[in-house]
């Protein structure tokens, strides 16, 4: 199998398979989670549950008082790599082209130098977080296999993508194929690991806020 044949496989059957498993997994988990339902709470709500839910969705994006000082690495690096990922994934011209081919809509992208800069920041932030997770005893104690695994699943596409653009280590064709392959692995595992928070984070925040509001602890 030559490099171009490898690339054609990951752009063809491989992508088909990965997107298939991704879609199947996402729909499966969403149906499963949202159909679980909750017992009807017969008590009269103490305050407006929905408003509390909405405010929690936003409030939890802001570190609680004192926490930023307490664990700055988690917050700062966490923010940097989440925002970085969003910029790279949704505003790099070739990526927009990919979404356009699947969804039919497109939007303007950022210059590749800016994307390159953000990619480097993202890579550094993720490495810092990994280092932090290894060196902080509590974090390390709390980490399971899934934490290390999902870190790698998220890190590899960024690294290979950046290396492909920078022509590092391997020929561009091979690196591009590896980049797409690692994205496919990410897609395959996303619905079945903690990475599924990409879909559930705001739903679960809203739910927590709404329940608290209902009980009279509106925030």
């Amino acid at each position: 199998m030559s490099e171009l044949q490898f690339l054609t496989w990951v752009r063809g059957p491989g992508l088909d398979l990965a997107i298939g498993i991704f879609l199947m997994g996402v729909l499966w988990r969403l149906f499963e989670i949202y159909s679980l339902g909750r017992k009807k709470d017969l008590a009269e709500p103490r305050s407006v549950a929905g408003a509390s839910g909405m405010s929690t969705v936003f409030r939890r994006s802001i570190p609680p008082a004192g926490m930023l000082k307490n664990s700055p690495v988690t917050y700062v690096a966490g923010y940097v790599f989440h925002v970085g990922l969003a910029i790279i994934v949704f505003f790099f011209a070739p990526h927009i082209k990919f979404f356009q081919s699947l969804l039919g809509v497109s939007w303007p992208g950022f210059p590749s130098q800016l994307i390159d800069f953000v990619a480097v920041l993202t890579i550094i932030a993720m490495l810092v977080l990994l280092f932090d997770r290894i060196t902080k005893p509590v974090k390390r104690y709390l980490s399971t296999f899934q934490d290390w695994f999902t870190w790698a699943l998220t890190f590899l596409p960024v690294l290979t993508g950046w290396m492909a653009v920078q022509h590092l280590l391997l020929p561009y064709t091979t690196m591009l194929a590896l980049h797409i392959l690692t994205v496919e692995l990410l897609l395959i595992f996303l619905p079945f690991t903690k990475l599924f928070h990409a879909f559930t984070v705001f739903g679960s925040r809203w739910y927590s806020g709404a329940v608290n509001g209902h009980k009279g602890v509106a925030v």
């Binding site: 030559s2 490099e3 171009l4 044949q5 690339l7 054609t8 752009r11 063809g12 992508l15 088909d16 398979l17 997107i19 298939g20 498993i21 879609l23 199947m24 997994g25 996402v26 729909l27 499966w28 988990r29 969403l30 149906f31 499963e32 159909s35 679980l36 339902g37 011209a93 070739p94 990526h95 082209k97 990919f98 356009q100 081919s101 699947l102 992208g109 950022f110 210059p111 590749s112 130098q113 022509h167 561009y172 064709t173 591009l176």
Partner: protein, 362 residues
């Protein structure tokens, strides 16, 4: 026919090519192939006194585009003359002989130059039905290749068909087409892929063979590194627009008129190793990207099956087939799991026993 023993420089003089022009040509070739400057002189000396080598050119499953490229587009230039001045003993398109005469020429050349002739192959080789899909003079290409390759000093696979199987090998490959290197394992083979290949690459390889008696340094796909060492994208004059994020969106928009990058229109330059961007075509006149069309990737294996020519590299190569079906399966599994969960909840509720005061006092 010209005297076989005649040396090349005399032939060139006959064609009105001065020594100066010839030196210039050799130096250019040497620098194109990234050889040291002195190699140009060595090349000129070797070429000037070289005996015209016997070349046998076989046509298999092909369109003759490679022959067209090498002979016609450069016929007034020095490359064309060099080509004219090798002893091309068998070439179905160009030779005057036909029928049994032509076959005799082939066998005579093979016999007279046993172990010394250069074999050039154009086209892929049909392997299906013992090669019966493609025959010349009642013999399958497969048999002919094996027989002629036996006495060759080296083999040059010209074009993507001979190098990798090319279009005849494209899905579903009805003739079981194969490349030269799939069949011949015991001879030095150099691949000069392209659909068609660049003429100067062809003459460069031949000059190298004549000068040094060996084939140039090859990459792992058997291509001369000097010409296939870098991608079209890395040498493209439109590269700056790619870096700035300036892309033509259609073939007639403002971006296209401004000469912006053709990546979004499906250019395969980033994954194609060839020298088009530096040597250009038709005597340095232009090349596909310069004339406004993206690279097709014709010098890469299986370029024909690598998805649409007009889809960007980051797009799926083919329309996704299973996605909608699998989404339905996912939704169905989700519904099934949720029904099972509800049933479990219902069963738990039904099995629930109310605890009474006497129970606690037991």
């Amino acid at each position: 026919m010209r005297d076989k023993e005649g040396v090349l420089l005399a032939g060139l003089a006959e064609h009105g090519v001065s020594r100066r022009t010839f030196m210039k040509f050799c130096t250019t070739l040497a620098s194109l192939m990234a050889l040291p400057a002195a190699s140009g002189v060595a090349m000129a000396e070797a070429l000037a006194t070289a005996r015209r080598p016997s070349v046998i050119w076989l046509h298999f499953q092909e369109c003759t585009g490679c022959t067209e490229s090498i002979t016609r587009s450069h016929s007034p230039t020095i490359e064309g003359l060099i080509f004219d001045l090798i002893s091309l003993d068998y070439q179905e398109t160009l030779m005057a002989a036909a029928g049994h005469q032509a076959e005799e020429a082939l066998h005579k050349a093979m016999k007279d130059n046993e172990g010394k002739y250069l074999l050039i192959v154009e086209g892929s080789i049909a392997q299906g039905l013992n090669g019966a899909y493609s025959t010349v003079a009642g013999r399958s290409n497969l048999d002919t290749l094996k027989e002629v390759a036996k006495g060759a000093a080296a083999i040059v696979a010209v074009g993507s068909c001979a190098s990798y199987g090319g279009i005849p090998k494209a899905n579903p490959n009805p003739t079981s087409a194969a490349s030269v290197s799939d069949i011949i394992k015991d001879k030095p083979i150099v691949n000069i892929p392209g659909c068609p290949p660049i003429p100067v690459v062809m003459t460069g390889v031949m000059a190298h063979f004549l000068t040094f008696g060996s084939l140039p340094e090859l990459d792992k796909l058997g291509r001369p590194k000097a010409f296939y060492g870098e991608t079209i994208h890395d040498r493209c004059y439109r590269r700056a627009f790619y870096d700035q994020g300036k892309f033509a969106k259609t073939f007639d928009d403002e971006g296209a008129r401004n000469g912006w990058c053709l990546f979004e229109l499906g250019c395969k330059g980033p994954v194609t190793y060839n020298a088009c961007a530096t040597t250009k075509w038709n005597g340095g006149t232009s090349w596909p990207v310069e004339s406004g069309h993206g690279c097709l990737g014709c010098s890469e294996p299986d370029f024909w099956d690598a998805g649409s020519f007009y889809k960007a590299l980051s797009m799926p190569a083919n329309p996704l087939k299973v996605a909608s079906g699998v989404a339905a399966v996912g939704a169905a599994v989700g519904v099934a799991v949720s029904l099972a969960n509800r049933a479990k909840k219902g069963a738990a509720k039904a099995a629930h026993e109310t605890t009474t005061l006497p129970d606690l006092e037991k």
